[in-house]
């Protein structure tokens, strides 16, 4: 390597590391600030100290004593969990059909399914509010699951279909030759091989449902049915007439950390799902 080449390489290295450090700061620092605030109490909450001068876990204690918060956590786990399970079951049917079976209007059906992703939730909020009131499922956990399903199914189906396509056709063909029905080939041969795809689609669905705010705040009105995002909007904390910044920060940390852990564990699966189909074009 010539000296000028080496200098160039060193410059490249330095530039890269500067970029890496900046990106990491950009991604992590705001979250650090939240943790910082969550450990502050009383007068410390009106100063911009980089580190909490008197770190305390009081904010965390107070949110777990707040039954509205613990209920919201429970509600979110139930709603997001049930949505995910149902979406995986019926979404894998549709994904398999789109990936492997020949039937009429397939392209039009796919176009319709993908067009659902462009629906603004606000456009269905008022009608659902009315229907759910008539059906007596307004302000219940059950009421949130159908619209969450409708909005997550397109993504679930799309991700699963792209995974099903990767599974060699010969395997299901062999099962058919051996006398299996198409459905048996799907259930016994293709599904077990599609486990990574299920994990990916399941995580994306769960995170979407965990995140949804507009429908959740429109279709619920009491702490018994309210999931985490709208519950955060109603957070008043223990002190009245004062925005409880410390407790809100603690609550946010508590609802975010499990997701961050999940996302870091399944990093590769999530990236595969987010980019499914995005690069083929």
């Amino acid at each position: 390597m010539s000296p000028s080449k080496r200098a160039q390489e060193r410059r490249r290295q330095i530039l890269l590391w500067v970029a890496v450090v900046l990106i990491m700061l950009f991604c992590l620092f705001p979250f650090y600030w939240l943790i910082n605030i969550s450990l502050k109490t009383g007068p410390d909450l009106s100063s911009a100290d980089f580190f909490p001068p008197n770190p305390s876990l009081d904010n965390y204690d107070s949110i777990f004593e707040d039954s509205n918060f613990t209920k919201a956590l429970r509600n979110s786990v139930i709603v997001a969990g049930v949505t995910t399970i149902i979406a995986l079951v019926i979404g894998s049917f549709a994904g398999y059909a789109l990936a492997r079976l020949r039937f009429r209007f397939k392209f039009i059906l796919l176009a319709i399914i993908l067009s659902v992703t462009t629906f603004p939730p606000i456009a269905i909020a008022a009608p659902l509010y009315k229907f759910w009131t008539d059906l007596d499922i307004y302000d219940t956990l059950y009421g949130l699951i159908p619209p969450f399903l409708a909005f997550t199914l397109p993504l679930t189906i799309y991700v699963l279909a792209s995974f099903f396509k990767e599974i060699p056709r010969d395997l299901s063909e062999a099962a058919l030759v051996d006398g299996a029905t198409h459905f048996q080939a799907f259930r016994k041969v293709v599904m077990p091989l599609a486990a990574p795809g299920l994990v990916t689609a399941g995580l994306l669905t769960f995170i979407w449902a965990w995140n949804e705010f507009l429908l959740a705040i429109t279709l619920t009105s009491s702490p018994d049915a309210r999931p985490v995002p709208p519950a955060l909007a109603f957070f008043t904390g223990s002190q009245q007439f004062e925005v409880p910044l410390g407790t809100i920060a603690a609550a946010l940390v508590v609802v975010t950390v499990p997701l961050v852990v999940l996302v870091l564990i399944f990093q590769k699966r999530i990236v595969a799902g987010l980019t499914a189909g995005a690069v083929k074009g």
Binding site: M24, A94, K130, A150, V177, V228, L252
Partner: protein, 313 residues
């Protein structure tokens, strides 16, 4: 041999009950029913709601008024509210998606380099993506908070203007806080999509360009960008459609004050706070139309390859 196995298979298929096309229809049915009942039908019903006027005093009393709610929203006395929301939404979308694209490409280029700690970097960029959108709004509110927030004290330390501003509560600044929050939350998503595009560009294209004496910048603009076009177009479409529907962030950060009421938020306020079901529904339907028109124009004039992507399914 071939013919025999085909014959066997045909026989078995007949014996197995459902034909392939029937099974296809049966497997599609549950998903289509859910999406039809809980997404498509309510949108149709929203259109019906928007064509009526509702009594504020007597519940359930309504009369058909045709397109009155639309003409009221678009050129009536209160039409400036709609057009402000329209303008705010497009300002937000234009600025935040542009910044996200530039940052996304920069992040992706860094994540694509071979170096120790690359896995850690790729994991790190997923952190903002995992934070609740509404929570992101609250998080950035705490960063812009006077006294407690990082941003005002940072500006003060550096002696930059804006340190005394109430960021989420003043004209101009308020929109900036929402853009900051959105860029933080979604630039990493953009980066991951673009990184996936980078990974399919064959290395030998670059080697050939190097041999021909192309500079780093030339390689970026003549090879990387053109070959990234498909990935960039898809990422832009996803982000644009999301940004046009933005709701959580202004709700959490500014409650729509100081020029931050977006289309979705405006419709929501009319529907829930003002209890104007007819007009609110008209606004919700208009939001839907805006998103549809933008995605149609985009796919028609910019992203021909997006159709190809759907077509290969």
């Amino acid at each position: 041999m071939e013919a025999a196995s085909v014959a066997v298979r045909r026989k078995q298929r007949r014996a197995s009950g459902l034909s392939e096309s029937r099974l296809g229809a049966a497997m599609m049915a549950p998903s289509l029913i859910v999406m039809g009942l809980v997404a498509a039908f309510p949108i149709g019903y929203a259109v019906w709601l928007s064509l009526n006027e509702y009594s504020v005093r007597v519940e359930g009393l309504s009369r058909f008024v045709g397109f009155d709610n639309y003409s009221e929203a678009l050129w009536g006395d209160t039409s400036s509210e709609f057009w402000d929301a329209f303008k705010n939404t497009f300002i937000f979308t234009g600025i935040s998606v542009s910044i996200e694209l530039v940052l996304g490409i920069a992040f992706a280029l860094a994540m694509h380099q071979a170096f120790r700690g690359r896995a850690l970097l790729r994991a790190t960029v997923l952190v903002p993506w995992a934070v609740l959108t509404f929570g992101t709004g609250l998080l950035w509110r705490s960063i812009f908070e006077p006294n407690l927030g990082f941003w005002p004290s940072f500006l003060e330390t550096l002696g930059l203007p804006g340190a005394d501003a109430l960021w989420y509560g003043e004209d101009g600044y308020a929109m900036a806080t929402i853009i900051f929050a959105d860029v933080w939350k979604t630039a990493p998503f953009m980066a991951l999509l673009i990184l996936a595009g980078l990974q399919v560009i064959p290395e030998d294209v670059y080697d050939a360009a190097k041999v021909d004496g192309a500079s780093v910048w030339q390689r970026f603009t003549r090879i990387t960008l053109p070959l990234l076009r498909p990935a960039i177009l898809v990422a832009l479409l996803f982000r644009t459609l999301d940004a046009l529907r933005v709701f959580d962030l202004p709700f959490a950060l500014t409650q729509g004050s100081n020029g931050t009421t977006t289309l979705s938020l405006h419709a929501y306020n009319e529907l829930t706070r003002n209890r104007l079901i007819g007009e609110g529904s008209a606004l919700a339907v208009l939001t839907f139309v805006v998103v549809m028109v933008v995605s149609f124009l985009y796919i028609r004039f910019v992203g021909g390859n997006i159709r190809a992507m759907a077509g290969d399914e």
